[in-house]
Each structure stands twice: as C-alpha cells, then as structure tokens.
Amino acid sequence: MVSISSDVIRGYNDTIILYLLLDKPSYGYEISKQIKTLSKEKYVIKETTLYSAFTRMEKNGYIESFFDEDMSNGKRRTYYRITEAGRQYYTDKCAEWKLTKEVVERFIEEEKGNGNN
C-alpha cells in the first residue's frame, strides 16, 4: 500500500493546521483527530510534528495560544487561534500549492488502461 511521505507533506503541515483553525480555535488532539478523519486515515500526524508546528507558527505570529476550559469535560487546555498574519500566510500557501501541484502533475504518468474510471 502506498503511504504518504513525511518529507513531502512536511511543507504543508502548517497549511493543514491553519485550515482547521480558520473557523474556530482548537487544541492539539482535536486537530490531530480532524486531520486523521478528513484525510480518511491516510495521514496521521505525529504528536511531536504537531507540537513543533504549533511552536514554530506561534513564533512566526501565525497563531496565538490561550488557556481555556473544554466545554465537554471542563478540562483546562491550550487552545490555538489563527491571526491575521496566519490567514495571509494560509492564502499564500494555497496559491503556492496550486502552482506546485500544477507543475508536478505535468510529470506524473496517468495510469492508463487500468480500468480506473
């Protein structure tokens, strides 16, 4: 089975996380769970990868952290919220990805005649 290469996806962890923060603040486990679900379990982000992305983006000013209580069980945890700079960065990364995808796809051989649609 083909699995995702962590080298390739590394450049887009930030984009993935920022996307999940666009609508509302979130916390570590929730984000990792959403990544797993939305990618249909094809990508499972490691805890250390996620945390390192948090600290790096916080340093760069793309996200902010704050303490809050979890509505469901009253547990206090660190939440992350996206900043204006973060939204801008996200838009840039999206444009970058479209370009990257366009370029790389030129060189990808389509599987012909395998009965795939």
Partner: protein, 322 residues
C-alpha cells in the same frame, strides 16, 4: 495510562528543565492523554491504546531546534551518566539500610564498652575483666564498621560518577520513603527519649541508696540507654539518607530532577492555622527558652525545651503534612 506517563517522562528525563521543555512535555502529555481516552472509549484494549499512542508519538528530534535542546539530542552526549536500574536501586537500599543497623550497633558497642570496667570497679572484681570487656566490645564495633564499609564500597559510584534513575524507579523509591515516614518519626522519637531518660535509673538507684552494686548497674543502664538511643537515631538517618541519595541522583536542571514532587523538602500543612503557627515556631521556642531561663535562672533544666520542641515539631509535621 501509567505506561504512557512512564514513556513520556523517560523521553524528557535528560532534557534541561526549562519553561519551553516543561510546556512541550505538558502539551504532548495532554495530546497523548486525549488520544488514549478516546481510543479506550472506542472500545480498544489497554494494550492496543497504549501501542497506538506511543507509535504515533513521533520523535523529539523534531522539537530540538524549537526548544533549543539540540545539544542534548546527540546520543554521544552522556551528560546524565549511568542509568541505575530498579534492581540495582533495590539492592542499594537493602545494603544501605543494613549498613545503618551495623554502624548503629557498632556505635552502641563503643558507647557501652566502658560498662564492664565500671561494673567491675563498683563490685570490686579484677580490673582486667573490665579491660577485657572494653577491648572485646571495641573490637566487635570496629569489625562491624569495617564490614559495613566494605559492603558499601561497591556503591561508591553512586556518589562519584554521574548517575540517573528513570521515572518509575523514582516513583518506587518515593513510595518507599513515604511508607517509611511514620516509622522514621517513631525511631527518632524513641532515640531521643532513650537519650533523655538515660540518667533516670541512676538517679533512682542513687536516691534509694541500695549500695554499690545497684549504683554500678545504674551507670551501666545510663550507657546502655544512650547507646540504644543513638542506635535508633543512626539506623533512622541511614535509611532516610538511602532514599535521599537515590532521589537526588538525577542531575539538577534536567527534567529528571522533577520526577517526584517531594524531592525538595517543602512542608505543606493541611491546616492553615497550623501553617501559620509553624512559620514562627522556632523563634517562639527561642523566646520561651530565653525568657524562662533568665527569669528563673534554672539553666540546668531549661534546655529540656529544645528536646520537647523538636519532638513536638516532628509530631506536628507528620500529623498535619499534606
């Protein structure tokens, strides 16, 4: 969950104890706990849940640059020194406690060594019997000291070279020490009581005026009481210091040093009033001692305040400690 906690603690053990590292540990622990809880709720078995959480944890190398810990990530960097296993720690504790008993007994023999001579003097035996006793006791004591020293020789590396223990070992030793706390207080108390009461038999014998033999026995009991008292004090302090030595192995400044909260001896009291009283305890005792002594001029007896005060302090500490 215990396995996960152990895993996380040992991953962080050798890292410096800084705000960033603490935060990282806290956050990662939180994520692991959340994941574990959810997996359990989905009906996964304990082992399955632990396996998934640990396999999806990742690698701390990824955080090295962000946390400023690159220097600690090098496998050749052996700052934390030899890792002492739980089995070794158990052996060490056993040996150290045993050596405490031996040294206590040796000191007891030394203290009691003049008893033979004194007794033979009082009852008019030949002097050489007393001298024989004296040397026999001292020889026995020295034998015990040498044996205890030889037994502890193989553990000298704990003091001489950098060593570290993992989280579960720290917890084990901490638990042992907690269990021992009450016994420790008792042994200290008994030791002090023996020392304080040592002269009572002699005084009684003297008052009764029952003759030389009994006065001689009074003196022997005096030495014996002091010896027993000191025995208890030494045995207790050896055992305590065994636990202390192990709990202090992890290098200060690394996360490993914060495994067990009570490594730093901070007394917290369950009762606020007690806490307030205890904060001015010793100054108050000093005041009482000085006032009483100067007002009554009974200096020969007022010192007893210190003994009583320290007993009371020990009692309060153990009774109201959190």
């Amino acid at each position: 969950m215990e396995t996960i906690r152990n895993y996380l603690e040992s991953m962080f053990q050798k890292l410096p104890n800084t705000a960033e590292v603490q935060r990282a540990k806290f956050e990662l622990g939180q994520m692991m706990e959340d994941k574990y809880t959810e997996l359990k709720n989905e009906g996964k078995s304990e082992n399955e849940a632990i396996g998934i959480v640990i396999s999806e944890f990742g690698n701390l190398d990824e955080l090295a640059v962000d946390l400023g810990i690159s220097g600690y990530m090098n496998p050749n960097n052996n700052m934390a020194g030899k890792q002492v296993t739980l089995a070794e720690v158990k052996d060490y504790l056993k040996d150290k406690i045993r050596s405490g008993y031996m040294i206590g007994l040796g000191v007891l023999l030394c203290i009691c060594s003049p008893c033979g001579a004194l007794l033979s003097d009082y009852i008019g035996w030949f002097d050489f019997v007393g001298i024989l006793f004296l040397f026999a006791f001292i020889a026995l004591a020295v034998g015990l000291f040498i044996f205890a020293g030889a037994m502890m020789e193989k553990w000298s590396y704990l003091q001489n070279q950098p060593c570290s223990i993992d989280f579960s070992t720290a917890e084990y030793v901490h638990g042992q020490r907690e269990n021992y706390r009450m016994t420790n207080a008792m042994m200290n108390t008994v030791g002090v009581i023996f020392c304080c009461c040592c002269f009572i038999p002699l005084v009684i014998m003297d008052e009764l005026g029952v003759g030389n033999l009994f006065e001689g026995i009074g003196v022997v009991i005096l030495f014996l009481f002091v010896g027993i008292g000191v025995y208890f004090l030494i045995a207790a302090s050896y055992r305590n210091s065994a636990y202390e030595t192990i709990l202090k192995l992890n290098e200060r400044g690394t996360m490993g040093a914060s495994f067990v909260a009570s490594q730093k001896e901070v007394y917290r009291y369950t009762n606020k009033i007690v806490a307030a009283v205890m904060s001015v305890y010793w100054p108050t005792v000093t005041c009482i001692y000085i006032s009483w002594s100067f007002l009554s001029a009974d200096w020969h007896i007022t010192w007893i305040i210190w003994v009583i005060a320290s007993l009371v302090e020990n009692f309060i500490k153990n009774a109201f400690r959190e």
